[in-house]
Amino acid sequence: MARPLLEVSDLNVEFRTDDGPVQAVRGVDFSVDAGQVLAIVGESGSGKSVTAMSILQLLPPSASISGEVMWKGENLLEVKEPRIREVRGGEISMIFQDPLTALNPVYKVGDQIVEMIQAHGRVSRRDARDRAIEMLDLVGIPQPAKRVDQYTHEFSGGMRQRAMIAMALSCDPQLIIADEPTTALDVTVQAQVLELLTDLADRLDTAVVLITHDLGVVAGMADRVTVMYAGRMVEAGSTDDVFDGTGHPYTHGLLMSLPRLDSDVGAPLMPIGGQPPSMLSPPPGCSFHPRCPFAREDLGCMTEVPATLERSPGHVSACHRADELMADGALDHRRLVGAGRQAADTDTVSVTDDGSAPGTGTEGGGLER
């Protein structure tokens, strides 16, 4: 098999701050094949954006980065000035969360696309402008020849993000990193914009890293999913594996908190209780243990970082109890919600019965709500 297009291994990012070091990313691995869509999922603060930005050396100088980001045989963490600029936008494009602030308000939208095209090739202004109009048309912006001369404040939120997508695609990149591309948009246009992005990427054979906190949007779009929690990768696999053979309680929690449109009409949402930890002092052992309904002190949840192990071919997760919980079906989100809750309750009781874990993890709600 050919090498993956992008291969990130053992990525670590630490920020120096006045309050001490912030370990934003801790040993993340993932890879993307040409033309593939990889979703990186996790709650806010789990290190998704930092991961994305480190790929293109876009982090501030206060960040120290280690690991490898292999792209076309080069480690992007080490390449120098002119080369990294070729990669930025030319080979790997980024789309950011809020298109209103991500575009410069004082330049025309078209000029910002032209600027990017001209940064990556000797193209005349007129040709670059024609290309910009063509791209705006491609992303479904009506009257592109007129829109090209308008400013961002004259665009609606959805149109702005379409323009961002047009810009991102304008230099034929092989990979697009979209960091929560629809989070800032009106719910009514979120699906359209996401569909447009994956559609175009498919047509142009561009790979996509889709970063999102919403596992729900991933289902129909991504080939593979990487779930991050507190700077670590907790589960990764094909979308089917992660949804149907969930191998981590955190992923299970994310799935349980989705609106359930398929079965169980009226079933309550079950958000994960508590908050993600501060990355100044993440919890020892499994970072998820304070919020995990399955946490067990005797199995090392509070003290030992769980190893990332393969649960089925190409499907990994980092949980001390993954095999056991998967065998029990405790991580199956399609089970009746009532049953799911019962399983969790039983488990909690057994922990307390052991007498080994007073006040572990289940505080703060969890699945008990």
Partner: protein, 333 residues
């Protein structure tokens, strides 16, 4: 935009009229008899009653105040600002004599403010917490803390007195009175050795605003550098230079430009301290001197000129602000 400009010009006329009216009322309240002051040569001798009477008739000062007010205002409306109670020189002539000096001084002060303020602000923003940043910060605080009088006299003493006494080289010795008699190209570019007259007062006049502008530039740059669109510019593959020039400076300097414009408008009429220290015959010092003499036509005429300059500058600033910042729609306010 046309209606915006027209409305602003109309507002300006109202402000000019209102300002002149307030000044008139103040002179009326302060009282004193300008004719008596004129006849007394500014209080040096006892006025001759007949002369006072003649002067009162000549300037209409014997009429009731409202009538005087209407008469003065309608003359102004026709472009006749009257003549000085004291010297009988037409106010327009005084303005023609004084205004260019004030303009030149303000022009060069703003040039200094712009280059030094923006330059050092940029430097300290780009090398935050470096020695350069610390030095400019301290310099800015010192510059804005020293009173203009003190700064002016110190500089004048150093380069205009001490330098001569100690045989400093010619380039380090500066004249310290007025703005010289040489010609000016395009009104503002000095010829001959005139630049030597201009540089020190312009520097003194600019000192405080330069310090403030440097701080504002620094803050504005640092704020802009953190913005999302700057990250986008970098992610597009632009060079660091392009990012700074097109996406940081361009956005960060929008407030700076407006401040420069307003500062020019202010400096034309309010350079009184600097004009006094360097014996420069500008508008501000004339207004103050005439106010002391209760020379109403001069004060009202020159104040209106200064207000006109300020109003025009602030209109130009608003227009350029709208040009630089497409989000601003003129006339929305």
């Amino acid at each position: 935009m046309g209606t915006f400009v027209l409305r602003r010009l109309f507002q300006l006329v109202i402000v000019l009229w209102g300002g002149a009216t307030i000044l008139f009322i103040l002179f009326y309240m302060v009282g004193g008899n300008p004719a008596e002051r004129m006849a007394s040569g500014g209080g040096e001798r006892n006025p001759n009653p007949q002369v006072v009477r003649n002067l009162e008739v000549r300037y209409g000062l014997d009429k009731p105040k409202p009538q005087q007010y209407v008469a003065h205002m309608s003359r102004i409306a026709r472009g006749d600002f009257g003549e000085s109670f004291r010297t009988r020189e037409p106010v327009v002539d005084i303005a023609k004599r004084r205004a260019p000096t004030s303009f030149r001084l303000a022009f060069w002060a703003v040039i200094i403010e712009g280059t030094m303020g923006i330059g050092s602000g940029m430097l300290s923003a780009r090398r935050r917490n470096s020695l350069a940043d610390v030095v400019t910060t301290i310099a800015a605080v010192v510059a804005s803390a020293i009173p203009v009088f003190v700064l002016g006299f110190m500089i004048k003493q150093l380069t205009g007195v001490y330098a001569y006494q100690n045989d400093w080289p010619a380039w380090a010795r500066f004249p310290t009175i007025g703005l010289g008699d040489n010609d000016w190209i395009f009104w503002v570019i000095p010829t001959g050795n005139t630049w030597k007259y201009v540089v020190q007062p312009a520097f003194v006049l600019a000192a405080v605003s330069t310090a403030i502008l440097a701080r504002i530039t620094r803050t504005s740059m640092l704020e802009t550098m953190r913005m999302d669109h700057v990250r986008t510019a970098r992610a597009k593959g632009l060079s660091e230079k392009q990012v700074t020039r097109k996406h940081v400076l361009r956005n960060a300097l929008i407030p700076v430009v407006t401040i420069l414009g307003i500062d020019f408008g202010t400096m034309v009429g309010a350079a009184i301290l600097t004009e006094t220290v360097f014996n420069i015959q500008g508008l501000g010092s004339q207004i103050v001197a005439s106010a002391k003499d209760l020379d109403m036509p001069v004060v009202i005429g020159l104040t209106m000129l200064v207000t006109l300059v300020y109003g025009t500058m602030s209109l130009l600033v608003d227009l350029s602000y709208a040009y630089l910042n497409p989000r601003v729609r003129l006339g929305d306010d």
